[in-house]
């Protein structure tokens, strides 16, 4: 029942959103392109001097840029994997009590409700060598406590911080996917004398495959672009060992005042994520087409 006037009305309804997107995305994109190609500081912001692709060359030749890339990739990959593994295990193991007592979800969800930046600040207290409970109890029980935030340990400390805050997200996705598997399927499998492990590996996990992929993807993206908790917990300290890509861009902009370079780096990041997202979309529609064909 699609008529022409309806579509016209439909376009009208899209106008506010599209206008907003044009103002807040295309204008910045334009600014980005100009500044990425210019030599510009805070003083010469209104009169950028075009220098071609020099900024991109500077960024690509900067070892700190590459170490920031490596940090973000490693951080995103590791946290996504650990969060999903833990979340999946918790969702399946705890499902009998979580289904019965709904309030347990609220408790497990609470960490996600707190701002990541504040969680970073809170860990400054938790890990503080004099005021923090964790070093206090570790020293009390084992005699020593590691320096959580020095160059050697900071990366893993941050991984644990991120994992503890966002495992609930993976848990929640898996919980919903797990309870939506119909009980008839489980009963049928049990009828065939399949054990609990076999049902898990052969039936339940394959049925949750799509959710697992989505959870991994979302958690990787969020880990890759991490800024808040890393910035408030270690700053860019710990010998530069915790500079994520977002922090690198922020720092070259505000601290260094190298606007052109910062914008070039963010443009690189933007286009890389576009390519990845586009490839993801292509892959998805290819799979769907194949499924339809099969």
């Amino acid at each position: 029942m699609r008529t022409i006037p309806q579509q016209r009305e439909g376009r009208l309804l899209l106008v506010p959103l599209v206008t907003f997107l044009l103002v807040f995305l295309s204008f910045p994109a334009l600014v980005d392109i100009v500044y990425a190609l210019s030599d510009v500081t805070f003083q010469t912001m209104r009169a950028p001097e075009l220098v071609g692709l020099r900024n991109f060359g500077t960024v690509l030749a900067d070892p700190e840029f590459w170490s920031a890339c490596w940090f973000s990739l490693r951080f995103g990959g590791l946290t996504a994997f650990i969060e999903c593994a833990l979340g999946l295990a918790l969702a399946i193991f705890l499902s009998p009590i979580v289904c019965r007592y709904g309030w347990t979800i609220a408790i497990l969800m609470l960490p996600m409700m707190v701002a990541p930046s504040m969680v970073g600040l809170m860990y400054r207290l938790v890990l503080h060598e004099f005021a923090g409970p964790l070093p206090y109890y570790l020293t009390l029980w084992s005699g020593t406590s590691p320096a959580f935030l020095d160059a050697g340990h900071a990366f893993w400390t941050l991984v644990v911080v991120e994992v503890l805050q966002w495992t609930p997200f993976a848990f929640l996705l898996f919980h919903v996917a797990y309870i939506s598997i119909s009980s008839e399927i489980r009963e049928a499998a049990a009828m065939d004398k399949a054990g609990a492990w076999r049902i898990l590996w052969r039936i339940e996990l394959p049925m949750m495959k799509a959710t697992i992929a989505i959870a991994l993807g979302i958690r990787f993206i969020d880990g890759f672009r991490v800024f808040d908790n890393v910035f408030t917990l270690t700053g860019a300290g710990a010998g530069g060992s915790t500079t994520s890509l977002s922090i690198y861009i922020y720092q070259s902009f505000f601290k260094g005042g190298q606007i052109g370079q910062a914008v070039a780096a963010s443009a690189l990041l933007f286009f890389t994520s576009l390519i990845v997202l586009y490839a993801g979309g292509m892959l998805k529609s290819y799979r769907e087409r194949r499924r339809v064909a099969a």
């Binding site: 309806q6 376009r11 959103l17 807040f24 497990l108 504040m118 503080h128 800024f227 933007f270």
Partner: protein, 272 residues
């Protein structure tokens, strides 16, 4: 077996909420006790830290930070709904925008926010929106658009087409249908989307850090002020009280709607 489950639940709950627990406990300790006793048992609980934070606003004014966060988060969440509700209706009922607009907005969620921060800083400086609550609210709208749109699309897809078909036969305009029919039917989804957007916007840090300096500083940024340089190190008790107050609004909202949140958040995630 269930005892084991409760044990695992207890350990997970404590580990995940550990920073919140520690902060809450520390906020009730006096400065003297913090220096002597970093443990988790408070010997002499006191409200002095809260009293100090709430009455002494000469250096850092927590009311201003909380107010800024409230206004900016309200704008960010409300405006996102205002923009996405009609768009979602058009997308679901007429199919316009399904092919390009929907994926573009949904993918915004995956773009690192810092990419927008620098050009928007320039743009805001140009039009005088730097360090204003409205400016911050406008940016938080961008942050909220993807999930808001997905949630609205899902909610409207669930309404049977016959309901608004009848109204359309009577030549009711789309605006009237949205306000009189679709809006009321999906009100629960709208409330959930609003609260979820409010929490997301309240918890945002990067834009607050980059785009505000004095007038419009949100609580996420303001609370970090209590950690930096006050001569003689951080006053942990006071800093903890600030963080408890700053983390409370989203935590309470989250607890109020956690049941709906589970469903809608996963819906947004799965279809995005």
């Amino acid at each position: 077996m269930n005892i084991l489950r409760w044990l695992v639940f207890g350990i997970a709950a404590i580990a995940m909420n550990f920073p919140v627990i520690v902060t809450l406990i520390t906020s009730f300790k006096s400065a003297k006790e913090i220096a002597m006793n970093p443990g988790l048992i408070v010997q002499a609980p006191t409200f002095a830290n809260y009293a100090r934070v709430l009455t002494d606003t000469s250096r850092f004014n927590i009311y201003a930070y909380l107010f800024n966060s409230t206004v900016a988060a309200f704008i960010g969440s409300f405006l996102a709904l205002l923009l996405t509700l009609p768009a979602a209706y058009a997308i679901v009922r007429t199919g316009v925008g399904k092919k390009h607009l929907l994926p573009v907005v949904a993918n915004l969620r995956a773009v690192p926010l810092v990419v927008f921060a620098i050009p928007l800083y320039m743009m805001f400086q140009f039009v005088g929106l730097l360090d204003t609550r409205i400016g911050l609210g406008l940016i938080l709208t961008i942050v909220n658009l993807p999930l808001s749109l997905m949630m609205m699309v899902n909610a409207i897809s669930d309404i049977p087409g016959e309901i608004d078909e009848a109204a359309r036969m009577d030549r009711a305009s789309a605006f009237v249908i949205l306000r009189r029919i679709v809006g009321p039917v999906i009100r629960p989804a709208i409330v959930t989307a609003f609260i979820f957007g409010f929490i997301t916007a309240w918890n945002e840090y990067l834009f607050g850090l980059m785009l505000t300096t004095r007038q419009a500083v949100p609580i996420t940024v303001g609370s970090s002020f209590f950690f930096s340089a006050s001569g003689g190190g951080v006053q942990w008790g006071i800093a903890s009280a600030v963080m408890v107050l700053g983390a409370m609004p989203p935590a309470i909202l989250g607890c109020l709607i956690y049941r709906q949140l589970t469903g809608s958040m996963t819906a947004g995630a799965v279809k995005g």
